[in-house]
Symmetry: C2
DNA sequence: GTTTAATATGCTCCAAACGAGCATAAAAGG
DNA sequence: CCTTTTATGCTCGTTTGGAGCATATTAAAC
């Protein structure tokens, strides 16, 4: 079949010195999976679009919309992604950006017998919840289902103190007496920085680091599934968040991470908002993503002062109180400032 | 040949609903190229390691070290990259991070007849110039050879006003009278924001955006090579920077972009420094990367105050003046602050 | 030896950004 | 009328960081 592909894959190394030559056996071609973490905010709840595989033998496992990249059908990677998402969920993507390309062997194992792609490229897409009404397949789920420890909206989540802290610290202890080559940063220190133990501050931008640490410690189901040795040691505690197919939870962690970081220096919140909105609605959306540490008056001053929004002239009534002014995103800000965003920083009181 | 690869590539779609199925014809497997932008600072000059293809038919074209990813040989993408770099240049990589995965059709055309990979993953590696002594193949070249407009160390480069500005503006004009669907941001505005024309400020972090704009306008050789139509229109002006193989210049632009951004919030400068260094040497290195807008006293205060360095107790003589204290990177800062870096911001006077 | 150049180092001043709090007005909606 | 919620203005006080002044210390040039 795909002759031109195979032909293309064949190198002609005589031209390049020390040419990147293929190993003696065959082609280096691999299958590439395109994966979309599609994020919206629905009733002040940050949600991702997941496709649940009900026919799965092990039970229902959520996954992200995905599909293989096929260069003969897709002119670009992002184009391929949009096609897959449209086919699988009926959703037409708006804003999308590439996150990361994962290629670790053994981090893709499927609970069923479906062969996973070897390399997966993760994308982040932001959309309005209203656009999601057209979703024909899949459902919106809070991302905190998969990352309960990231949800600080009602204070520090109990799961951190009750489950994560003791188990991670036990894991750190178990690695102590090794007197071979020490890692650059000790496990105990990584744990402390990631989860804000022992007086360290909680950094909401370390989403991926935290997930990777839990994976490494064998505390998330995917680690067990992928056959990490240490997984069994820690007995049968409650599972830490819902697992996902393949490496999709890792991709979602990357997506949350990127969203939290980018919202501060690029006006990406507005991808999640309807055209007209109240300043308080905007604040609630930002808080849904970052955690609720915003001072109302200062938020107004910041957002209006930065020229991010402009009043539409309309009012929104039925707010339960005084009607609120409606605003819209002020596009021209992109032509004025190099890095406009909702520049909120964590308050000094956010230390656990 | 690669039976197990082909077998793997075959999906078993019966399990997943709306399964990501392959198109009827053949496999979706593609060849993946791993590309390294290896950066160092040599005599206050930011350099990248390039491999020159002297046997090329069109003439000598520089390229980055690269090679295909082969999952049978490489357990991880980064592992594969390190192998290729070692094989091609003899250099053992230290710090490395993934940049981006490019997969646009038609942006890889080779000047010779060597088939380029369809998808290329770019990496950024930072190393000390001293480590480069072991380089057996390839050479260090200023990255400003490829991006002369990025070199603001002696003020605003002439090439911007003499060549880039008039040609870009002509390109913007040429697209004016179209009254179809307008792009979200007009060409003229993109140009203004990217290059700081008409009173806009120069943002040193827009390296990739600038290169992409020049490519789109057909002003860099790669655009002509890839068969972009508009390329010929603009006559035979001097070329804007040296071209590179495949999409390597785009990858290098991404690398410079990332380096400039990351140096401000992560202590990555120290990957470029020897173990012991003078504060002034550190400043010169930062300036080589960002451009020279640093106040000496404030730089000292910033760096020392942030706890990024500690004195070794030694002095460096033969500085041309009073001997300078030697410092070393203070690793513990990673355990104290969530985002330590050389937090320099452009002075308000940097508007062109 | 003296001068000069280059660096090292400490200190002050000032403006902008921003976190935090207080107070009050305005407009529903029961 | 009372509650709720938003809108709005103002004040502190702290931190950050840009900019400049002054002086000490040494190597190298003369």
């Amino acid at each position: 079949m795909n002759m031109e592909l195979s032909g293309r894959a064949k190198p002609t190394p005589e031209k390049a010195q020390r040419a990147p030559s293929k190993d003696s056996m065959g082609h280096a071609a691999v299958e590439i999976g395109l994966n979309a973490a599609i994020v919206a905010v629905l009733d002040n709840e940050p949600v991702a679009l997941v496709v649940r595989d009900t026919a799965d033998s092990v039970g229902a496992t959520d996954g992200l919309p995905f599909g293989p990249f096929s260069p003969r059908d897709h002119r670009t990677l992002e184009g391929g992604l949009r096609t897959w998402v449209r086919d699988q969920t009926g959703l037409e993507l708006g804003y999308a950006e590439q996150l990361y390309t994962f290629g670790d062997r053994g981090r893709h194992v499927d609970p069923g017998d479906m062969a996973p792609p070897i390399v997966s490229i993760g994308y982040l897409a932001l959309t309005q919840a209203g656009d999601g009404r057209g979703v024909s397949n899949g459902s919106w789920r809070t991302w905190y289902h998969y990352f309960p420890w990231e949800d600080w909206r009602r204070g520090r989540p109990d799961i951190i103190g009750n489950d994560i802290e003791p188990r991670l610290k036990a894991w750190a202890e178990s690695a102590k007496p090794t007197n071979g080559p020490q890692p650059l940063i000790a496990r105990a220190d990584r744990i402390r920085m990631c989860f804000g133990f022992d007086g360290a501050t909680w950094d909401e931008e370390k989403v991926l680091e935290r997930y990777e640490l839990l994976y490494e410690a064998g505390l998330v189901d995917e680690a067990l599934r992928d056959g990490r040795s240490s997984a069994k040691v820690w007995g049968d505690h409650p599972r830490l968040g819902l697992p996902m197919k393949f490496d999709h939870r890792r991709i979602l962690a990357t997506a949350i991470n990127r969203t939290r970081a980018k919202i501060k220096y690029r006006p990406v919140v507005f991808e999640l908002m309807p055209d007209d909105f109240t300043l308080y609605e905007l604040q609630k959306t930002v808080e849904a993503i970052l955690g609720p540490h915003l001072h109302k008056q200062n938020f107004r001053r910041l957002v209006e002062g930065a020229g991010l929004v402009e009043p539409t002239g309309e009012m929104k009534t039925r707010t339960g109180g005084r009607p609120a002014k409606l605003f819209r995103f002020r596009r021209e800000v992109l032509l004025e400032r190099p890095a406009p965003g909702v520049r909120v920083s964590a308050p000094p009181s956010s230390r656990n």
